[in-house]
């Protein structure tokens, strides 16, 4: 029991942040029109490419001679970047299509 309380005390900042972020997420995205379901999905999918940041932070503290984690982290960076860059590019392509029509 004491351990659990200690855990909450140590991580109170992150628990706050997590809770607020969940509410924020639901508020920010509720009431999306059907037209935007796909762009929102591919856009938010691109945002999950933030994992790239984690891979960068970890590879920076990895021993330069320890090849297995180096390669794994590089692979993580590659995949994260594909997710991020590809997702953003696809979303902007889709949204351009919607805009092009509007101007007509």
């Amino acid at each position: 029991m004491n351990e659990i309380i200690a855990f909450f005390e140590q991580n109170i900042e992150i628990i706050y942040l997590l809770t607020f972020a969940v509410f924020l997420g639901f508020e920010v995205i509720s009431k999306i029109p059907t037209v935007l379901h796909t762009p929102l999905m591919s856009g938010s999918n691109a945002i999950s490419g933030v994992v790239l940041i984690g891979a960068i932070l970890l590879i920076r503290v990895t021993e330069p001679t320890n090849y297995f984690p180096l390669i794994m982290a590089t692979l993580g960076i590659i995949l994260g970047t594909i997710n991020l860059v590809g997702g953003l590019a696809v979303t902007s392509r889709m949204l351009e299509m919607f805009n092009k029509k509007k101007r007509k």
């Binding site: 997590l18 972020a21 969940v22 924020l24 997420g25 639901f26 920010v28 995205i29 999306i32 059907t34 037209v35 935007l36 379901h37 796909t38 762009p39 929102l40 999905m41 591919s42 856009g43 938010s44 999918n45 945002i47 999950s48 490419g49 933030v50 994992v51 940041i53 984690g54 891979a55 932070l57 970890l58 920076r60 503290v61 990895t62 984690p69 180096l70 794994m72 982290a73 590089t74 692979l75 993580g76 960076i77 590659i78 995949l79 994260g80 970047t81 594909i82 997710n83 590809g86 997702g87 953003l88 696809v90 392509r93 889709m94 949204l95 351009e96 299509m97 919607f98 092009k100 029509k101």
Partner: protein, 460 residues
Amino acid sequence: MNIVILDGVLFIASILLIVGLRKLSNPDSASNGNSLAAVALGLGVLVALVYPLETQNNNYLYIAIGIFVGGLIGIISAKKVPMTAMPEMVSLFNGFGGLSAALISVVWMVNNNFAGETTEIGIVLLNLFLGLVAFIGSMVAYGKLSGRLKDEHLKIPFSTVVNIVVLLIAIGLILVFSYNGYLSTSQTILFSVLSLFYGITFVAPIGGADMPVVIATLNALTGITAAISGIITDNKLMLLGGVLVGSSGIILTLLMCKAMNRHVLSVFFGNFSDSKGGGNQVEGNAKEISAANLAIQLAYSQRVCIIPGYGMAVAQAQKIVKELEEVLERKDVEFKYAIHPVAGRMPGHMNVLLAEADVSYDKLLDLDEANSYLESTDVAIVVGANDVVNPSALEDPSSKIYGMPILNLAKTKNVIVLKRSMNPGYAGIQNPLFFKENTKMLFGDAKKSIEIILRELKDV
């Protein structure tokens, strides 16, 4: 650089990300929102590159190679993919994000010699599990969407039971390993294999009309792993971004379930594809119509409505449908599109497809608008849709889809179904619509059929 400045930049990036996502949910500002999100994430990456860390091995060469290769692949595939293949592409990208998150766990474990505090190990293993499930699940979804995997190849006996048992084992292992604060290399590998196995049994039995739900859920899952990875690497932007993606994915999942009048749990544990549809057998003769007759009928109609479905994407018929719209509008026929929220294999699938063919917004009717419009429509043409127009949802309590809101064609004067053959739809459910008094079938490839109609229309 001063750590305060870097933290400040990260804070600004977080706000940009929230504003960007907010703008992404409004049609007028969506483009802006996407750019803002890109700026936010770019700033986050820059900060991560220079942030002072305990050990500064940096390994910048590897990072540069990774970003270059990933960026190149990402841009090229994003430019090349046809709009019709969008659901597959989103799944594939999503899977990569999940695997990337799982690799973060792997690297953390190797760097920390597979040991740590109880909470650390628990979080890292949870991340490994969810990341791998998101990865393999997205790959299975990709296979299904691109037609490489057929639903019947993926029948797993007692999948619901297997699912729950494997999930419980995984949770148990996470608890045990984190209590020990240590696990061996082989245990890590075994745990990874178990995670991958769960990912397959989780997604494999769900198919057909439930696909949009799965896609949205996998999206949410990757967001959640991104958030957990943010906890592991102590990065607030990742945590925030991940949670936002997770929430949007969950909202979309619930929206899709609502559109099908199904409970979330019944999608994941109900085994839609296990039973062969249920419902009463429908008997009767379907009437056929020729393309030439249909052309004449269309030319003398006042209101025509297209009901698109996944079949339109498969037949690549969206451009030719748009041509039909133009030809008929020149003949003073009112022309609309009725869009069911779960038509297609991805949330909003039909909207993207029709946007690609330059169909304008105001011609797209959502479910409620469409249903009142269809009551006074002369000819409704069903192009590759099936379950979303199945009257069993209204009439047959024994049917699997009973209670799902559908596009109701009962009062429409003439219903024309473009279809390859009499086979039941993706969900394996008989469709009594084909035998209704006001329904006629036009067999053949949708694109070719409409081409013939267009040719005939020139002579009318």
